[in-house]
């Protein structure tokens, strides 16, 4: 069992006091980010990246911090779903269905505890799946040549809109905008200046961290000003916890089913955590013998989607770590972190940076236990923080974004540039252009171009190389399916999800 050996090494990395401390901080901050409505996980991780960067943390520590934030955000999303009927993030939408009715029946504490337990089970199951699947996939990915990689990047863009994607044209446009931005700067191969307009600032290209923070955080502020969403003003009462061990044990089969389904949805390109929790909920409803209480505060209706979305969040790390191709907004932001730390994700990472990969995986396991421990006794604190009004929260988040960007470069120019990206992000969101493909385009652009030219060198200028190997052809067909299927089935699944949940507030993305 070589995997187990690596995992043990991983634990050695993750259990050092510094890393453990950062995992704890990350888990706490992550839960907070997930809980606060209007601050999605992608947004939350994005504003923390510059901080992790300027603190000059070691690679594995920085990654442990951010993956803990990621895992924590998935836990936190449920809190406002249950107490306020407002999902903290999109995947937590399904938790509203039975969580809120439970809270109304005075069983808020039970719902929170059950969902924490289900999140834990889902996260644990997903991480175990990750441990077994990732090395296999990484070994397989070693057989990929540049032509296959090029096709794989196309696949990533094609499926990013997801099966529920609304407008394929807009996803493609968004990806192209990102790719175009990525070509600005000095060409690595030839030294040609591209689109720099002789501006020294543009020679090194556009910093994607700055772009991500601007697109997400600043645009959120502007959107809020437009909509003036009133923050939760009513005080929330969480009663005493009244839950027996037996009740939890009875929920184990539900969480196992939900976690497994979620993990599969997370690994598959284009599915993601939102679909994971949706499938877990609907199939759980079909699987149980008596579903009359679903939608009226059934404990299983809380456990299934929570296990699903946490399983999915671990599953989504599989393609990101093994192929360097993220499947969701938050994993795209994590990829940005990796690239700026000079680590190229992909199969080689498992051999070249084994300590980092396994350290992060071990940290995820530890993080799950930390989150369970954090979430049950400290739920009161999170509930209190929920009542921080948005009109204080968003200016403070904006300030954190400013400080983060400033502390990397000490440049007022960068800050202005970030605001420009924020305004662009606001306009694009108003036009329903998704932001995540833009980010992904900026991140993957250089790699894509590199693989394109490598492939052409190998084939001596013959474009047919992209369609020659069976593997490449199958990836291209998958990509085509990823673009065409949503046009056929997308509307049906979307309307089903909407029917199931009328209160779902549209947030950035998972």
């Amino acid at each position: 069992m070589e995997t187990l050996g690596f995992l043990m090494d991983g634990f050695a990395v993750a259990l050092t006091p510094t890393n453990l401390m950062y995992a704890l901080i990350g888990a706490f901050v992550g839960t907070l980010i997930g809980a606060l409505p209007g601050l999605g996980p992608a947004n939350g991780v994005a504003i923390l990246i510059p901080l992790a960067f300027s603190l000059a943390l070691p690679v594995e520590t920085a990654l442990i911090l951010l993956t803990s934030v990621y895992a924590g955000a998935m836990y936190g999303g449920r809190i406002s779903s249950i107490l306020l009927n407002i999902p903290g993030d999109e995947p937590a939408m399904m938790t509203c269905l039975d969580g809120y009715p439970m809270a109304q029946q005075g069983k808020a504490a039970e719902a929170l505890a059950i969902s924490a337990f289900a999140s834990f089970m889902g996260g644990l199951l997903g991480t175990i799946g990750l441990i077994f699947l990732a090395p296999i996939l990484a070994r397989f990915a070693l057989t990929f040549g540049p032509a296959e990689y090029f096709a794989l990047f196309i696949l990533a863009f094609a499926t990013l809109g997801g099966i529920t994607g609304k407008n394929t044209t807009k996803t493609i446009i968004a990806a192209l905008i990102g790719l175009m931005i990525s070509t600005v700067g000095m060409d690595i191969a030839t030294g040609t200046q591209r689109y720099t307009f002789n501006q020294l600032k543009l020679f090194e290209g556009i910093d994607f961290i700055l772009a991500i923070v601007g697109l997400f955080a600043i645009s959120e502020l502007l959107l809020f000003i437009e909509h003036r969403v009133k923050g939760p003003q009513k005080s929330i009462v969480v009663g005493k916890l009244n839950l027996t061990f037996k009740q939890l044990v009875a929920l184990i089969p539900t969480t196992l089913r939900g976690g497994t389904l979620g993990f599969i949805a997370g690994v598959l390109p284009g599915a993601g955590a939102s679909l994971g929790s949706f499938i877990s909920y609907t199939l759980e409803k079909k699987a149980v013998s008596d579903d009359s209480q679903f939608g009226h505060g059934d404990a299983r209706g809380v456990a299934a989607p929570e296990a699903g979305n946490n399983g999915a969040s671990s599953g989504a790390l599989v393609p990101m770590l093994t192929l360097g191709v993220p499947g969701s907004g938050t994993t795209a932001v994590l990829l940005a972190m990796l690239i700026s730390l000079n680590i190229t994700p992909g199969p080689l990472m498992f051999t070249q940076h084994a300590d980092v990969v396994w350290g992060v995986i071990a940290a995820l396991l530890i993080g799950n236990f930390l989150l369970l421990i954090l979430n049950i006794p400290m739920i009161g604190i999170f509930v209190k923080l929920l009542s921080v009004p948005t009109h204080y929260l968003l200016p403070i988040v904006t300030m954190v974004a400013f400080v983060g960007i400033y502390s990397i470069s000490h440049s007022a120019f960068d800050l202005k540039f970030m605001v420009v990206f924020g305004i662009a992000g606001y306009l694009l969101r108003k036009l329903d252009i998704p932001l995540v493909p833009i980010i992904l385009g900026m991140l993957l652009g250089p790699e894509m171009e590199k693989n394109l030219s490598h492939a052409m060198v190998i084939s001596d200028g013959n474009w047919m190389i992209f369609w020659q190997s069976p593997l490449a052809i199958s990836i291209w067909s998958l990509a085509a399916a990823g673009l065409i299927l949503p046009m056929i089935f997308g509307r049906r699944i979307r309307s089903k999800m909407q029917k199931a949940n009328t209160t779902g507030e549209k947030l950035i993305t998972d």
């Binding site: 591209r194 437009e226 204080y392 300030m399 007022a412 036009l431 329903d432 052409m456």
Partner: protein, 148 residues
Amino acid sequence: MKLNGDRLLGLFLFVLALAYGWGARQWPEPFGSHEAVGPDTFPVILAIAMAIASLALMLKPEPNNEWPTGTTLLEIGYAVIALFAYAMLMEPLGFIISTFFAVAFLAWRMGASPKPAAAIALGCGVGVFLLFNNLLDLPLPLGLLEIS
């Protein structure tokens, strides 16, 4: 014909694609290189794809979202001005003072009462400054406060 956001965006992106592709063709061929892939190959592919996609968007636009008007638009304008001012004044005024003004102004415009907004903004500015300068060792500019 009513103005449609998607059509406008499509038109803008189409022009951008043309300019972007034209720009790529202007670069001199790299010295001594006759590779199949030059610095312009990838941009030209992107330009063609963008031209097609933007035409598709213009042909099949979605109905308009509601755009802000009147006071809402003005509020967004204020916020944008405040953000730019914050970016430009951070160094000359220093972190604490600029943060105080930026956070207090934004919170106030977003619906907080002026007094608590000012108090929270001051707390934020001083707190984050101390956290960064003293605890994390990441120096932030002091600006005007430096003299005293």
